[in-house]
Symmetry: C2
Subunit: 285 residues, 2 copies
């Protein structure tokens, strides 16, 4: 009787601890999260993991496997012209600045189409082209975007980012008031598709989707500068889900960047920042 | 006596379960990891997390906080010219292809310098410029890089990537033999600096370093295309640490991409892939 009771009590205790400990731990984790990872936008995370791959095995249509190879046609310039072209391209891009003061003057949509077509030439993991560019011209939608971002950004500045980041950004005179979201004639919201779909509607993995879409954004920035338009690269923290829903984008698309695009306003200023010299960013072996 | 024994047994059991259950769980997790996340290159991960920020609080020198603002000088083109420039830029970039057959002919270093200077004009989180471009010309070093990558890539293809990814890449005729690592006259290895250092040698946070460096890579790809050189965007899995050590880069620099750069070989071919049309990548609101 004595040993039976002891064994019974032991079993019950083991069960109770076994059941409640993990629940307790996950609860602790949940409570601590806002404090330990204050500004990581969960929506930005790359979800290219095996969990997804395992779902996808055998879903890629066999017919797409073998793409014909064709001769590569190349335009080669004489060395002198290569030097000149590369120098001029550098000089053009070196004039690019992040401009936060944007005029409300409209921009030609043909140009917007062309810069997005240029961005769409970016390479992507296994040629998945995992990007969606949402071009917002509608004033009401722009204002709703502003409201969502300013509300979140104020919280970011006040609580999530920590004094360090706020201090780092102070020198750029950045704060949570984003007038350009109303004034810029065009906002380009760039979404990464964390997965795609096969013809049969099944999930298709998008390898390195965040890196691929960021490369496309780099090309987009170069294209805007080449066309004589200005922008500022922004990554609105924690605004991904509400902005995605406002714009009616599906859940597998996650906001990566928002670019307000237009002409600079007459009184536009930029911080007097210098770029690193070549020998500070390049090493030759 | 009976209740005392029962209580004692209960306490012992609770303690035993409490101590061993987490250990057991972490062990399980460790064992499962190679299986569940087979190709995630740990070295690629962005380490901009709070842990780092907490170390860094108050380390940014106050004197750098206020950068003078200066008027922004802008080159504006007439609308017609904007349309022409943006169209031509798109057409130039649309000819870019990932080329895996690269001639051993040397390329002018002045051009390499210019394309890297262009990449260095990319925007970065809080203007941290978190990139290092390692240009490898030395044949022995190139061959060592090839050996490291081919050894790892063979394992990736055989074990880590899973049949799905191998199938996806088959249509691009990609495998673990990377001859271009020997033949290309220049390899550019792009490292992201997951943090930097203040003047006093303390850690300085690099916000969004992976996105920033990927944007710089996008500009680099555009600059190479503009100069008439070819490359292929590669992300050698699990090769980050050995390549970093081979090249003598510090631990806070993580390999993001490797670009073999040169002229295409005479027999170069590319898969006959199409790009998505504008209406498949752009939505207007």
């Amino acid at each position: 009787m004595l040993s039976l009771t002891a064994v019974l009590v032991a079993v019950v205790c083991v069960l109770i601890v076994w059941i409640f400990k993990p629940a307790d731990r996950s609860l602790q984790k949940k409570e601590r999260e806002p404090e330990t990872r204050p500004w990581v936008d969960e929506d930005l995370k790359d979800s290219t993991d095996l969990h997804q791959v395992q779902e996808d095995v055998d879903e890629w249509p066999e017919s797409e496997e073998d793409v014909e190879h064709i001769p590569f046609s190349h335009t080669r310039y004489p060395e002198k012209e290569m030097a000149k072209r590369s120098q001029e391209f550098y000089e053009l891009l070196n004039k690019r600045r992040s401009v936060r003061f944007i005029s409300n003057e409209p921009v030609p949509m043909e140009v917007i189409n062309n810069v997005i077509k240029a961005a769409g030439t970016a390479p992507s993991g296994a040629h998945t082209e995992p990007w969606t560019f949402v071009v917002v011209k509608d004033p009401d939608t722009k204002h709703k975007i502003r409201e969502i971002i300013e509300k979140e950004e104020e919280i970011n500045y006040m609580k999530r980012m920590g004094q360090r980041w706020v201090t780092d950004l102070k020198k750029l005179r950045t704060n949570w008031v984003k007038e350009y979201l109303d004034t810029a004639p065009v906002l380009i919201l760039i979404f990464k598709q964390v997965h795609g779909f096969t013809a049969s509607g099944k999930k298709k993995v998008h390898y390195y989707n965040e890196i691929s879409v960021s490369i496309a954004c780099g090309i987009l920035l170069a294209a805007l500068q080449n066309a004589g338009l200005v922008t500022v690269t922004t990554t609105p923290l924690n605004c991904g889900p509400p902005l995605r829903m406002l714009l009616g984008r599906p859940p597998h698309e996650k906001l990566l960047m928002l670019l307000p695009v237009g002409y600079p306003s007459k009184e536009a200023t930029v911080p007097d920042l210098k770029r690193k010299a070549l020998d500070q960013i390049m090493v030759t072996v």
